[in-house]
């Protein structure tokens, strides 16, 4: 059974967002997404300093038989990509909302992808979205 913490926001493309205390936004992929992909073998995270627009492909998650892009839900400048994922991609399978975070970015304002609360996202995931 997948879990969706109530304190996060979600996107229809299966990312989650967490606002950290300093105002930066942490982004990862949902429990539903990691289960659908299966055991991850490689994650490509964005480099610090990269400027992203909302909807830009910012990372790649790869399992043995599939690879998917991760999209930035908001515009902003990447402050860091999770360095641990280079050697431990399985962190996303094990702890998608914690140690498996993918990137942090400083929001630039402007257009953002529509985000959902946990309940609304759960419905999307349950519908096989």
């Amino acid at each position: 059974m997948s879990s969706y913490p109530a304190d996060l926001r979600y996107t229809k493309s299966h990312e989650w967002l967490r606002t950290l205390q300093d105002g930066t936004i942490e982004v990862g992929i949902t429990d539903h997404a990691q289960q659908a992909l299966g055991d991850l073998v490689f994650v490509e995270v964005p480099e610090a300093g990269r400027h992203l627009a909302a909807g830009d492909a910012c990372a790649v998650v790869e399992s043995v038989k599939a690879a998917s892009d991760v999209y930035s839900p908001i515009a902003g400048e990447v402050t860091s990509g999770n360095p641990k994922l280079a050697t431990e991609p399985e962190l996303i399978n094990r702890d998608p909302y914690g140690a498996g975070w993918i990137m942090r970015l400083k929001p630039a304002g402007g257009a953002a992808t529509e985000t959902l609360d946990a309940k609304a996202y759960e419905a999307v995931a349950a519908a096989g979205g």
Partner: protein, 439 residues
């Protein structure tokens, strides 16, 4: 079959392609011929080549091919150009690819090799595209492409990469040495250069200062693409050991190992790289693993780079490999072993030095560059080289490559190569014929 699948006519199968995009007839492609006529035509074309005494290299090299190579390649079990669709059902094919990759990686001192590409020219093009993907900090897609890189390879690389936004920028050579002067790169210092191509040996047969060029690239944040002759690697420092830290990508043509000249193809491109770049490498990769019972076996690995999984974002549209030629190259390399490869490389190097001496003893002929070459070198003649090539063709000798075709500044220069296949008597025959042609 059309009845069975419920289609009225063959053309209906192509309904999805808009009429405007279809070509009804291909210009210059003749109608079908019966097998007997084809055999006769092909036989006549092949006979037209004759069996000349050959001194041309210029990217493809005549080496002795031991009889077992093609006797084994043409066995039914492996006589296919293709990677099988259900790859793991063909353990033998995968093992050959794995052995091939191991040998190519070993020769180049790189971490990993793919299962091959079409030929050296498109391998170089793919290496340029790969460098742009791999070098994430570089935004320019500028690749330094020295004029000493095989001109045909440069042309193919340009055709394949320019439409994808790459900028291949020429680097001139030093006319006295026939090599890139590392100092000439200083004009690019401080600029965003994605990669530099380092040919070794270069098109003139000359040995580049690969260490200095590699160090310059490292210091200036550019990746290094080595374009190498695999036979030369038996003697020369492999790309993985150049400069401080080695090249990032090595590519070339494995034709010299087991593949006949065949009027220009098919050949077999190879590509190897450092492990950190492997996910940007195009093509298939065979890996060794164990099955659920712990038995060793072979598999295609890192497939998520490829188009059947990554679709439009795949590293390349290349999803096949030169299976048949890979098999020939693998058997040839296995038969030679490191010691045999060294013998062939040194015999070719020695023969070309002897040839150069014999030719330069003829009045009016001189070496074009300093004597720092591997198994191919340019000499300057007292008249246009292409005329001399035509003259010697009448003596059934392929005299070499007239450099003026690609380098107008060298109208009188002839690029020659004498591999281990040439005897002293062959070299003398060439020298006599050339002396005669100049009188």
């Amino acid at each position: 079959m059309l009845d069975r699948i419920g289609v009225g006519a063959i053309d209906d199968l192509f309904d999805e392609i808009p009429k405007a995009l279809r070509i009804d007839a291909l210009e210059g492609v003749p109608d079908a011929l019966p097998e007997m006529d084809v055999a006769r035509l092909a036989g006549a074309r092949a006979a037209a080549d004759g069996l000349p005494l050959n001194f041309i290299g210029a990217g493809a090299y005549e080496h002795h091919i031991p009889a077992p190579v093609w006797a084994l390649v043409t066995r039914g079990e492996i006589y296919s150009a293709y990677t099988p669709y259900q790859a793991e059902a063909s353990q033998g094919t995968l093992q050959i690819m794995y052995e091939y990759q191991s040998m190519i990686a070993g020769l180049n001192a790189m971490d990993v090799s793919n299962a091959s590409l079409y030929e050296g020219a498109s391998a170089l093009a793919e290496a340029c595209l790969m460098a742009v993907r791999a070098h994430r900090r570089s935004k320019s897609a500028r690749i330094l492409m020295p004029a000493t890189v095989n001109p045909a390879w440069r042309q193919v690389a340009r055709a394949i990469t320019e439409g994808q936004g790459l900028k291949l920028e020429a680097v001139p050579y030093d006319a006295a040495t026939g090599r890139i002067d590392p100092k000439s790169l200083e004009q690019f210092a401080g600029e965003d250069i994605t990669a530099i191509v380092v040919p070794q040996p270069n098109f003139f047969g000359q040995l580049e200062d690969a260490d200095a060029l590699t160090r310059w690239a490292r210091a200036n944040g550019a990746l290094i693409i080595a374009a190498v002759n695999p036979v030369s690697l038996a003697l020369l420092a492999p790309p993985g050991e150049w400069g401080d830290g080695g090249a990032d990508i090595a590519c070339g043509d494995a034709q010299p190992f087991g593949v006949p000249l065949s009027s220009g193809g098919p050949y077999v491109g190879f590509m190897a790289c450092r492990m950190e770049h492997v996910r940007q490498m195009p093509g298939r990769i065979a890996g060794r693993t164990v099955d659920t019972e712990g038995t060793p076996g072979f598999t295609l690995t890192l497939q998520a780079r490829e188009q059947h999984i990554r679709r439009a974002k795949a590293t390349s549209n290349i999803c096949t490999n030169q299976g048949l030629l890979v098999t020939a190259a693998t058997i040839a390399m296995a038969m030679l072993g490191p010691e045999g490869a060294r013998r062939i490389a040194s015999a070719s190097m020695t023969n070309t030095r002897k040839l150069c001496d014999k030719l330069c003893a003829i009045p009016g002929i001189a070496p074009l560059f300093a004597r720092t070459f591997f198994h191919e070198t340019a000499v300057s003649l007292p008249r246009a080289a292409h005329e001399v090539v035509e003259r010697l063709a009448h003596d059934n000798i392929v005299a070499g490559f007239a450099l003026g075709e690609e380098y107008p500044e060298f109208e009188n220069a002839l690029l020659v190569c004498a591999t281990e296949t040439k005897t002293d008597a062959d070299l003398d025959r060439f020298a006599r014929a050339l002396a005669h042609a100049l009188t």
